[in-house]
Symmetry: C2
Subunit: 202 residues, 2 copies
DNA sequence: TTAGCTTCCGATCGATCGGTTGCTATATTC
DNA sequence: GAATATAGCAACCGATCGATCGGAAGCTAA
């Protein structure tokens, strides 16, 4: 029925699949993201979906990549122009809070990375490795900013960047839980207070 | 073939189902816990499994209850006899770290509460409510100990117990991720260092 | 001893899972 | 303009999902 589209249209179709995939996976998880559900939502056949990826695992990896792009666009980009070190880190932290507060408008079911991390942390496979890689990458970026902050003198010279990054990630895991599970409106301010205690020793 | 067992045997069968359910769910999630998998693992029929619970949702709730009992037994009980307030809280925190470090011996796939929290935080239903209730209960217990610590003078009078409990939970979410996803052997010590900074202002 | 309750099984249900196949119709390439 | 490559569909595959059914078998109370 629907025959071959132009290469450009096909690319657009693939984008639509991945975008919808991110939305579904943020609610149902990357395993709960099924081909049939995608096909129904997009008014396509299952074969039409799978044709773009070959296997479900590849679809999951593509979904993860898209989510990563969204995260960087929303959390990193707005802060990228700030002066590297503590100022930029501060800006990133604030954007990160905003991201988690309003993520329903981006990911209907909350941060896909947190979901995927917990979903795959007890399994093997390429998806698990991709999730771990993305988390490592992000943590490394945080550590980098912290290091700059230390050498710039914005943080005490005794500061352990890895340690601070570790605690930082914990704060955002707590924030995600408070928002998603408890719908706690106080959580963003709690996070800010904890951040101040963690970073404001200039 | 296998006919009626005595009431005691039936209770034991139910226990075996729930215990195995906890092990499976800690790896696959509470949705990934399937009747067929349980039946195969236990050498029973699917009907035999479901007969004890009626629906999968009830099975999930029973699994969650068992996991809760295990958690309290491993994390709370060993510390329960300590003097209430900061000493007991310290003991609980150390037991909590030990629990997450060695949880593979308890839950093959990591802390079931963290898994369930993320798995159901974007859905409705009784399981989600049960997960939220258990998390709230635990957090309330932490807040109670913190309050005692403040009135005992072991923490500064300006301390906000809710705030500290919030950050505490974040630390353990980070620890769970570091252990399960990254297999990071440094994480327990990082957690202890963060705990000291958070609590040791006596 | 017997009647009834309960545990558990084997079989089966409709739905859905990920994935394959054969095909059509068009875009692209030569 | 002919040959080729390809997007997407309809139909279907075996496996598995949660759930239901009638019956078999033994515990338990009368």
């Amino acid at each position: 029925m629907s025959p071959r589209k132009s290469a450009a249209e096909a690319r657009r179709t693939r984008e639509r699949i991945v975008e919808r995939g991110v939305a579904i996976a943020s609610v149902e998880g990357l395993e709960g993201l099924t081909i049939g559900r995608l096909a129904t939502d997009l008014g396509m056949s299952k074969a039409g979906i799978l044709g773009h990826f070959g296997t479900k695992e590849t679809l999951q990896l593509a979904t993860l990549d898209e989510a990563s792009a969204v995260f960087l666009r929303v959390v990193w980009q707005p802060a990228a122009h700030e002066t590297p070190g503590l100022p930029r880190l501060r800006a990133v932290c604030e954007a990160w809070i905003t991201y988690l507060e309003h993520e329903r408008e981006i990911f209907p079911g909350g941060c896909l990375f947190t979901t995927a991390s917990v979903e795959f942390d007890a399994r093997g496979g390429r998806v698990r490795e991709a999730v771990a890689r993305l988390h490592r990458l992000w943590r490394r970026r945080l550590v980098g900013e912290l290091r700059l902050a230390v050498t710039a003198g914005d943080l005490p010279s005794g500061t352990d960047p890895e340690q601070v990054a570790y605690e930082l990630v914990g704060l955002y895991l707590a924030l995600n839980q408070a928002i998603q599970l408890f719908a706690d409106p106080l959580a963003p301010d709690r996070t800010r207070r904890a951040l101040d205690r963690l970073l404001a020793q200039a």
